[in-house]
Symmetry: C2
Subunit: 313 residues, 2 copies
Amino acid sequence: MSVIVAIDIGGTQLRAAVYPLTGTTPITVQRTPTLGMEDGVFERLTALVDSVWPIELADAISVAAPGPVDPYNGTIISTPNIPAWTNYPLAEMLSKRYKVPAYLGNDANLAALGEWKYGAGQGHHDVLYLTISTGIGGGVISSDMLIEGSRGMATELGHVTVLSDGPVCSCGVRGHLEAVASGPAIARYVLEQISAGRLSTLSSVKNLTAREVAGAARQGDELAKEAFVRAGNFIGLAVAEFLHIFNPSIVIFGGGVTQSGSLILDPITESMKRNIMDPSYLYGLQLATVKLGDDAGLLGALAQAHMRLSKVR
Amino acid sequence: MSVIVAIDIGGTQLRAAVYPLTGTTPITVQRTPTLGMEDGVFERLTALVDSVWPIELADAISVAAPGPVDPYNGTIISTPNIPAWTNYPLAEMLSKRYKVPAYLGNDANLAALGEWKYGAGQGHHDVLYLTISTGIGGGVISSDMLIEGSRGMATELGHVTVLSDGPVCSCGVRGHLEAVASGPAIARYVLEQISAGRLSTLSSVKNLTAREVAGAARQGDELAKEAFVRAGNFIGLAVAEFLHIFNPSIVIFGGGVTQSGSLILDPITESMKRNIMDPSYLYGLQLATVKLGDDAGLLGALAQAHMRLSKVR
C-alpha cells in the first residue's frame, strides 16, 4: 500500500498526517508548535515528519502554507509567521530529504481544493471559496481545475476595489475588500464610530476584535450590528463581481468572521443580490459554509497531492 | 480530408468559413448582411453555410455570437442585434440540419481563445484578454483552459466596480468599469465637461464618439486627452485586480478604444502599476494588442471547435 504525507504549516502549529491513497481518514496525525520567530523551524518540521513517516512507500509529500508561494517550483515566497522562510525552497528540501516528490501550495487555494474534493463543494465543477478572517483570501475551481495563474499568485480575492478612496489595505492599495471587511476592519470601524461619539456597549473594551463585536451584536448593540451589515455589504458586492468573473455554482464561505453566521451572511446575501448584473447568475447558485474546519489545511494538501500526481504541468 | 465550418455572427454581417483540420488559412470564406431586425436570419445563415458547405466531411460547425450564450447547450440567451434570437437553440438547429456536431460560444470568450491559439497569446498558459469598445468584455485562459463558468457566463470583465457611486452601467449596477471607460463613456464624459463650461475643440460636434475624441486628443485638445487618461486610470485599476485574480503572463487589449494606441494604453499601464498589490505580478508580464483583427470571430470559432472536439464536458 502506498500513502500520501500531508503537512499543514500553521502560524502556531505544524501538523503532519499520513493518508491512504484513497479516503480522507488519516492513518497517523501529529503536531508540534511552529515557533516561527525562533530558529530551527525546518528541523522541527522534519522531526515531525520523521515521527509519522510510514513504513509503506510514500507517493508524495504535500504541503499547505500561508502567504504567497510558488506552487510550480515549490518555493515559499514569504509566509506571515516564519520570517526565515523567505524565498525558501521547501518542496525541494523535503523532496531531497525524503526521496519522494514534494508539492507546495497556498493554504487558501488548497482549502478551496479540499472543500471541493471532500467538503461543501463536492459534485460541483465551478466553486468560489472566500475566507474572511484577519485577512480576506480565497480560491476558485473552474471546470474542475484549480485556478493558480502563471506564477501561482491567482485568486487574491481580498484585493479588489469595493470602496473608491477607502482605507489603505495591508497591501498598500486603497479601498480593497480586505481593508473594509476583514475581522480587524470590522473592529476598527466600531472603534472609529465610538471615537466619533457613537454609543456602544463596546466602548470600554480594550483590543477589540470582530468576535467581540459579534457578541455585542447578538446582545442587540446597534453599532455592532451595523458594523457587520457594513462589512457584509462590501463582501456581497465583491461576491457579485466574482460571480460575473467566475460564474460558479456554489460559493463557500470560511474564516472566523463567517462563524458569526447570519450577522454577516444575511447582509452578504442581500448585497450580492442587489449588485448582480443579471439574475441568471443566481439560478441554482448554492451558498454554503466550510465543512472541513481545522482539517482544511491537511485535506487541502492531500487533494493537492492527488491533483499533482494526476497531471503533468 | 475533414474540415471545420466556422461561423461569426456579427451585428452587420454573418460570416462563414471552411478551415482545414490543421492551420488557420480558410479554404472558403463567404459573408452576407445580418439584417438582424428583419425576419429570416436563420434562413440567411443556412443559405450562407450551404454556399460554403464542403464536399469533404465536416467534423463540426462552430459559431461565435455576441451577447450571453450557453456554450454547454448551444443556446443564444440573447444577442444585441437579433431580437428574434432570444433563448434560441442555434447549435441544435444547425446540428440537426447539417448532421454534424455544432458548438456555440460567446464572441469575447472565443476572441480570447483565438488570440491565445493563433494570435498575440501564443505560447502563454495564462492569458487575460480585455476588449474595450461600445461595451467592455473579455476572456481568460488559465492553465491552458478557457474560463467559462457553470453556465458559460464567466469573465464579464466590464462588470466590476471601479468607482463607488459612479454612473449606472448598462447592466443597471453603479460604478462598473463599462460605465466609465467604454467608448460611449469617454464621449459622454467630454460632453458633460463641455456642458459644465469646459472649453474644447469638440464643442460643436454632434453625436460625439470616442474616435472623434481620440482625433481631438492627437491634435492637442486638453479635455480630449484628459478623457482618455481618466478612462485609462479606471481600466488600469481593473487590470490590476484581474492580475490579482488570474495572475496571467500576458494581457491582450482589443476593441475600438484601444486602437487609440498610447492615448489610452499609456494611462492604463501607469494605473495598473500604481494599483498592483505586489510588483511580482508584473515580473515578465507582457502587454499586447490583438493580432487577429476582423478574423477574431472566425478564428475563435475554429479554436472552439478544436477545444470541444478534444474534451468531453
